[in-house]
Amino acid sequence: MPSWPSETKYISHDVLRIDAPEKVSGRARYASDIQANGWLYGMILRSKWPAATITKINLEPALKIPGIKAAITVQDGERTIRFYGEELAAVAGATKQACLDALRAIQVEARPKPSFVVNEDIAKAQDAPRVWEDSPNTTTPQVHEHGDVDKAFGECAAVSEGFYTTPVQLHNAMETHGSTVSWTDDGVTAWASTQGIASVRDGLAGALRLDHSRVRAITEYMGGGFGAKFGAGVEGVLAARLSQAAKAPVRLMLTRFDEALAVGNRPSSFQRIKIGAKADGTLHAFQMDNYGTPGIGAGAATAGGGGAEIPAPYIYRVPNVRVKQVGVAVNAGSARAFRAPGRPPASFGIESALDDLATKMGMDPLELRLKNDPSEIRRREYKLGAEKFGWKQKYKKPGGSPGIVKTGVGCGGSEWGGGGSRYTQAEAQINPDGSVELRLGVQDIGTGTRTVIAVVAAEMLGLKPEQITVKVGDTQYPPGPGSGGSTTCASVSPTVYDVCNNALAELQKRTGVADARGDNWFAACKKLGVTPLVVQGKWQDGLSSSGTGGVQFAEVEVDTETGLVTVKKITAVHDCGLIVDKLTAESQINGGIIMGMGYALYEERVMDNLSGVVLNPNFETYKLPNIADVPDIDVILLNMPERGVIGIGEPATIPAAAAIGNAVANALGVRVGSLPITPAKVLAALGKVPKPVASAT
């Protein structure tokens, strides 16, 4: 069985991100920066109706706009539109301005449907307008039950009931979706902003009916994905078709406006939770009714479930459980995977319920968790974190903080799978001059994958990370996984381990140098003569694990007169097995916390019932946390090298909103059960908001 070295020079240390100089200097070329020879600008026309039958699309006027080289429809013939922003047509032209004019010139004939529904509660009603004509908006309830819940609640010393809701969250990576696609007689090349180059290649090949071998996807740099950037996407296929029609490469990046409509989101949740414990605090019964919307991708018409289900009671084991969940279709864009799918809402629901139960029992919520959390690692993390955070000193009974600006503390835990992809492969080329190039068909989406590869290779070969040239982001390299599920690090690390070991073995065979590492490296490589050494490697078992957890503590200040919540501090304790690069691991945790903070306090896609549009398809009213909102963050990485490598991107974002929500409740003495926790909701929870006096006129 392979194993990681116990003494390391780079692994588990702070190693600077190897591509940071490219990024800080503007030299890094992102998908949206690609300027292929003779490139054209591409844009998409979208439906302005939330529900309609499109009867005719006339592209002729667009083609008459000077500079326009191609215009295509997404689909020929009559078609049904089910959400605002669904793609109708696309144009390619010499300039953005020509494309803007062309989009306005396209004539769309449609029969708008008078009724549609964008609100979950309205969509659930019996007489609601149907998103899918022939079937109800709600899925068949998914029920999970064990034990005897009704009886068990009778046996509880305390029972708490609450309603906890989370909004539809948008990924809103800083770089939008899109690519430059060139379709020539030689095949298709796509420079895509993607988390999965292979998924782009396969998606384009499928949609365009081409052999996989004739499609190449390249992602040198990309500006974030968070789960929403897999596959070719409608926009990728349109770019390819435009390129074919215009006989030129087409750069088609979505606008920020587009980004809110049709390229994914995190489903909402509306969790009615009842939870009960025995007198000693042991959880005994749990019941949840949950519904949420993943957009049009739900309802009875979409067999196989709605995609809005969340794990419940998530990380806790309760002997008597009844969970019922329903996905609700609405006329809005479909959900996609979003950093730890299902978990942030699940965490917010259960952790809120737990704190409310603790309040009812007069118990310290941390004690309640230590009593009930089945994970020994996480219980350890709670203890470490509590000490670091100063929980004992800071915790007061809910509402016990004096004054107008109240402080509060809260906590919550997370659990994630992760693990590596056993199909990951790598190629190493050792040149006679001693230079090393590693090639993997993965992509670095900002998590530090390039750096992780360099760290592991440097460790194995006895070189410095900066001596390793890392080539990723091209489907011509050996296959690697998509960057999702926090699996990339655990996929590439064992693979690089293997390819480096193979390289050392082969180098010994070819040169006779017994140990080519470190000081012997250049002399050994020189003995290669004129032919570089190229070796393959693949993922090896035993160097990585799955299953990771973490806990987070939050301290907040809440102004009870203005409702403003200020997060003062987050303490996070996470385990990720063997830490590969401490520096980038910590950055991942910071990032997870800050994204969770956005979920807790600011972010929410807002739909308008009357018009069916997304009201905040921008950064002005879809609010992301900025540097002035971000608190002090303490991170403790719990090192467990014996477990091998485990990813950390997703577990770090899961409990932040729950911890912040609990801290707000602790400060106020009342629960704001609905994310995001805005000043409006805080003031409402405090009973300070007057009833509406003016009716709509």
């Binding site: 018009s611 007057p690 509406p692 006096v693």
Partner: protein, 320 residues
Amino acid sequence: MKAFEYATARSLDSAPQLATDNGHYFAGGNDLLGRMKDYITDAKILVNIKSLPGLDQIESGRDHWTLGALVTIAQIENHPGIKKVFPGLHEAAAEVGSQQIRNVATLGGNLAQHSRCWYYRHRDIVCLKKGGDTCYARHGDNRYHSLFTGNTCISPVVSNLGTALAALDATAIVRRSGKEARLSMSELYHRAWENPLAHNSLDPGDLILKVEIPTARGRSAYLQVSDKHAFDWALVSCAVAAQVSGGRLRRPRVALGCISPVPYQVEAANDFLDGKTLDEATVSKAADLVLANAQPLEFNGYKVPLAHALIRRALLKLKG
């Protein structure tokens, strides 16, 4: 954004002429270009007014200061004299947008900006303010909307500077039909109170030249609360100004932003405060008077307690 012509105006006389045919004055451009990109506003010609002489000066004086309309928000924020003499204006300027915006946005543009109502700003909604027949916000999500209005449209004015300048009783000097008109802040926005189509009282061709701020109120303050801690529109803002002598307020003024189509002022509250010393009971009573006629809707009722808190706090800041 549709194509347009572009010209640089060199004189106050030529600017309106150049803009005659669906032209728009163009200075910082933040508001205008945003609207044009979303096809809320279209223009045949943009008339660059940044070269107009004499409008980019901050002039101090004993009785009043004069700020040219082309003075940037950053210049106002960073001016040490303004910070000292009109702290409320300084505080309001510091909360406008972001550094990048403040570096280009002008005083005139901040005063003349259009509603930020998310229905008005939505490219595919034709609301009342855009000449349609429905105020979508009244029926829809009005969390950011007005507590007071004189018409059916409930989109509020969001100019930080307009609010601060209202409390300071400033006067906008506007070039109108070749002459200079003097408008108080109330007058500058009054039309928006009455007319759903209006964002302010300016006619096409009117050009804000400068703003005169009397120095009579030696103390001033501005507070806002947003969902976020920076670079976010105010949910409610409050500006106050007064002369304070012997601990008593003289000629106090309270103005609220983001809760009405105009910087919202209530004379009864100002009158009540005149001659008073600042204590919790007094400022609370003043806040009650300002908010007496609030008409909360389904989602904006929180603005009532929020405004109440801001009025009290801003007034107490005048204690120094």
